[in-house]
């Protein structure tokens, strides 16, 4: 199976049942995308497919063939963090960091979707990404900040 991940061609030998999340983590060595529930409930595995945010645990790897997959590893350009990554860093929008890649991938898409207009809108549209460390207040701040500068 051939996937396009972060602009690179990745050739993997996968079973048809393998999820995109497991393909990334267990086969492609891209462990930045996290598994929190494997059931579509937590958002930790959020990636972009053709620019849209999806939960990769509920996406079969096979369905991602021929599409552009972007993961957290593909967000920064070289040493320069994406503005959303920089905002999360500056706002301390995490503690343990395990939900963070998913939060950031959701947040980037949310701004592109035009859903970062107000704090209330950010909260509502980020509610698919659970942060058990409870960094929500800082996550909202980071997104507000990054959206303003974008």
């Amino acid at each position: 199976m051939v996937l396009q991940v972060n602009g690179q061609r990745v050739s993997l030998s996968l079973e048809p049942r393998t999820s995109l999340l497991d393909a990334l983590r267990e086969y492609a060595g891209l462990t930045g995308t996290k598994k929190g529930c494997d059931r579509g409930s937590c958002g930790a595995c959020t990636v972009h497919i053709d620019g849209r945010r999806v939960v990769s645990c509920l996406t079969l790897a096979a369905r991602a063939q021929g599409k552009a997959v972007t993961t957290i590893e593909g967000l920064a350009s070289g040493d320069d963090l994406h503005p959303m990554q920089a905002a999360f860093l500056h706002h301390d929008a995490y503690q343990c960091g395990y939900c963070t890649p998913g939060q950031i991938m959701s947040a980037v898409a949310l701004v592109q979707e035009g859903h970062a207009g107000s704090d209330a809108e950010i909260r509502e549209n980020m509610s698919g990404n659970i942060c058990r460390c409870g960094a929500y207040a800082n996550i909202v701040g980071a997104i507000r900040d990054a959206a303003g500068r974008a």
Partner: protein, 733 residues
């Protein structure tokens, strides 16, 4: 001073780029995958396994059951919560108990084969819930590891209660709750002969090392535990639970490195939970609000004694919270066919303070008294239980600043008296407290020839900021910019440190780091004096300090590089140790405090409950990093919102099965549940408590949250909910 500054988290870049490596993410060549199989009955015996189908599936390497599992040892006192290792016999005592491990070449194949493992059981009688067995409550055998008795009393609680003009009696209940850190428990285990390396997600690498060494009967030095990042723990990763041991067992059987990651569902039956509590409180009070008598009887759910013992110590805070001459507390257990409970964020304090601070609110209502005035009336200037002065206590300022910040003065006394359109508005508050703990810890300072410093300790960073604050402490000690200090932790080869639990990491490890810094400084100064010959003859060490990689003296400076070049070494290592004073040397009672405020809105038509504002002001001792400390505060308050309004593990009584073992039906707070939070820390350096001056922040902001919200809900609606979580249906009663 770099310490205290709100500098960005030093591991932040790794976390925002996906480069931070958690336990399951280490690329160990030739790793295969293990999946656990769990029991589907609550009590009985395994009559047999039907493995033919699973064994015949592609890629299956081994199926390990009690019939063929290597024997594990518990000799040498295994320091983990579960005293009975898994897969050692055929008895089943709870639904979800580990009964087999399937190992296969790939994760998908292991999962498929695990689903094909079939068991036959002889079912036994099960008591699956605590409610039905309250009459069988028993006295804990090993309360607080035998450090104190489960009951205590002072004065004449019964007589003073009978004589009190105003009396409140109420029962408060809290449910089973699961930690649900976002990172599931995960272990990669690899053997090299008799040497074991595990990459595991743990709050205590030293405990994991000792546990695994004990179970497999090998030297501690032959077990290496690596854990640079933990994806949250909240207590669930404090002990070394069976999955870590089973991963190592599987690796030994298949002679390959094995990765074992729990599913979210398995996280509900593999690593403890906060046990359900039933707490009876009786308070007798004078008409002016003076507490005359307090009684707090707590019962918490336990598993079967075979697994060990865990008591939720709900009434310990009650002993020291207010000045009251007559008081009694008790702790009891009820055994049921469920897994072993364990510590969960603010164990004891979180459910206990919900009960006692709800009861205090009920007293205030009965007396028509302002809840803060009632608390100030009974303010404990010294610890009434330990009869010791507090090392510091600025709770009065917490109340004052919190009330001002929150706008408490706008609150009307009567319940159901504040409205905003269809919304009933309520304002509630509660006191928070958590003991300041410290355990023995060690740290090493490596002075490098280029003047840089490496700080090493076998502690772990759960996201609390350990990497960052230890660097800040050391940077100040050596007069270095923070970029020149590197912190290494999360490896059992480093000097030993305690479990990151009980909010003790900064007090324990920070004190060791300071001790090591001091020794390293003394060492460098001694080297410089001896190297300088006549130049500094007669100078006293106190005349020197370190700055930018050099010893600076009276007058002149000598770089560490010069000194090391003369000795032909590239670095100098110095280890420092710190431990708390012994029990008998204790001169002060050590506690952090806080005042927590909540505003809720309850829809008068639908009963929907929304938290609209949260304020917390805390006396947590010295702040090492204003940014990461603030994140701990908002994180704890958010966790408390979950406890107050959302979280409850539900058990099917007939089968003992947890029916909401997933993170969509075990409801935790999401972004839209959390309002604007104001969280403040008083400037409150406390060097009596420990050399760092910090009193611990991990649990404190969680402690008063549920009571503050429950009290706000009462104030909004006049409905007193004594059973958590508070739900919409409670509002429609």
């Amino acid at each position: 001073m770099i310490t205290g500054q709100p500098i960005d988290r030093r591991d932040g870049r790794q976390k925002v780029t996906g480069a931070a490596t958690y336990a399951a993410e280490f690329a160990i060549p030739a790793t295969v995958h293990a999946v656990l199989v769990q029991s589907t009955i609550a009590a009985g015996q395994i009559a047999g396994f039907d493995l033919a189908v699973a064994q015949g599936m592609p890629g299956v390497l081994a199926i390990i059951t009690p019939d063929n599992a290597p024997k594990l040892s518990t000799k040498g006192g295994v320091p983990q919560a579960i005293t009975q290792p898994a897969l050692q016999d055929l008895e089943v005592i709870y639904n979800g108990q580990h009964v087999a491990i399937v190992v296969a070449e790939t994760l998908e194949r292991a999962q498929a084969a695990a689903a094909a493992v079939k068991l036959r059981y002889t079912e036994g009688e099960a008591q699956t819930t605590m409610e039905g067995a309250l009459d069988q409550a028993y006295v804990p055998k090993n309360f607080r590891n035998g450090q104190r008795k489960p009951d205590s009393s002072r004065g004449d609680p019964a007589g003073s209660f009978a004589a009190a003009p105003v009396r409140i009696r109420a029962t408060y209940t809290t449910p089973n709750e699961h930690h649900n850190p976002m990172e599931p428990h995960a272990t990669i285990a690899a053997w090299d002969g008799d040497r074991l390396t595990v990459w595991t997600s743990t709050q205590g690498i030293s405990g994991a090392q000792a546990t695994l060494a004990g179970m497999f009967g090998i030297e501690k030095a032959n077990v290496r535990v690596i854990c640079p990042f933990v994806g949250g723990g909240f207590g669930s990763k404090g002990s070394t639970w069976p999955p870590a041991t089973l991963a190592a067992m599987a690796a030994r059987v298949v002679k390959r490195p094995v990765k074992l990651v729990l599913s979210r569902a398995q996280m509900f039956t593999s690593n403890g939970f906060r046990p359900m509590t039933v707490q009876k409180i009786a308070i007798g009070v004078a008409n002016d609000g003076t507490l005359l008598s307090v009684r707090h009887d707590g019962i918490s759910q336990m598993s079967m004694p075979k697994l060990g013992e865990f008591v939720e110590p709900v009434a310990l805070a009650t002993e020291m919270l207010y000045a009251c001459p007559n008081l009694a507390v008790t702790h009891r257990l009820v055994g049921v066919n469920q897994g072993l409970p364990t510590y969960m964020r603010a164990p004891g304090e979180a459910p206990g303070v919900f009960a006692i601070e709800s009861a205090m609110d009920e007293v205030a209502v009965a007396l028509k008294m302002d809840p803060i005035v009632l608390r100030l009336k009974n303010y404990a200037e010294t610890d009434p239980h330990e009869n010791l002065p507090f090392s510091s206590k600025r709770l009065r300022e917490c109340y004052e600043q919190g009330a001002a910040e929150f706008g408490w003065a706008r609150r009307t006394l009567e319940p159901r008296s504040m409205r905003d359109g269809d919304w009933l508005v309520g304002m509630g508050m509660a006191t928070s407290t958590y003991p300041t703990n410290q355990s023995p810890a060690s740290a090493r300072i490596r002075l490098m020839a280029n003047g840089n410093v490496v700080v090493q300790s076998g502690t772990q960073d759960l996201g609390t900021g350990t990497y960052t604050v230890m660097a800040q402490l050391a940077a100040d000690e050596f007069g270095l910019p923070i970029e020149r200090v590197r912190v290494e932790l999360g490896d059992s080869r480093l000097p030993s440190a305690p479990v990151s639990g009980g909010s003790q990491t900064v007090a324990s490890v920070g004190s060791a780091v300071l001790a090591a810094c001091k020794l390293a400084r003394d060492h460098a100064i001694a080297m410089a004096i001896s190297d300088a010959g006549d130049r500094w003859a007669g100078a006293k060490p106190a005349d020197f300090h370190l700055e930018n990689g050099a010893v600076v003296g009276p007058p002149g400076r000598m770089t560490l590089g010069e000194m090391m070049a003369r000795r032909n070494v590239e670095s100098v290592d110095v280890q420092g140790d710190a431990k708390p004073p012994g029990k008998d040397d204790k001169t002060h009672s050590l506690h952090a405090f806080g005042a927590q405020f909540a505003e809720v809105r309850v829809d008068s038509l639908t009963g929907e409950i929304r938290v609209s504002r949260l304020v917390g002001v805390f006396d947590g001792g010295r702040v090492l990093n204003a940014k990461t400390a603030h994140s701990q505060l908002i994180g704890g308050m958010t966790f408390g919102v979950g406890m107050a309004l959302l979280e409850e593990t539900l058990v099917d009584e007939a089968t003992g099965r947890i029916v909401n073992a997933n993170i969509s039906e075990y409801v935790v707070p999401v972004n839209a549940d959390i309002p604007v939070i104001t969280a403040k820390l008083l400037e409150a350096d406390d060097r009596v408590a420990n050399p760092v001056g910090a009193k611990g922040l991990g649990e404190l902001p969680m402690v008063g949250m549920a009571a503050a919200i429950a009290n706000a809900v009462f104030h909004a609606t006049g409905i007193r909910v004594r059973d958590l979580p508070i739900r919409l249906d409670d509002m429609l009663a």
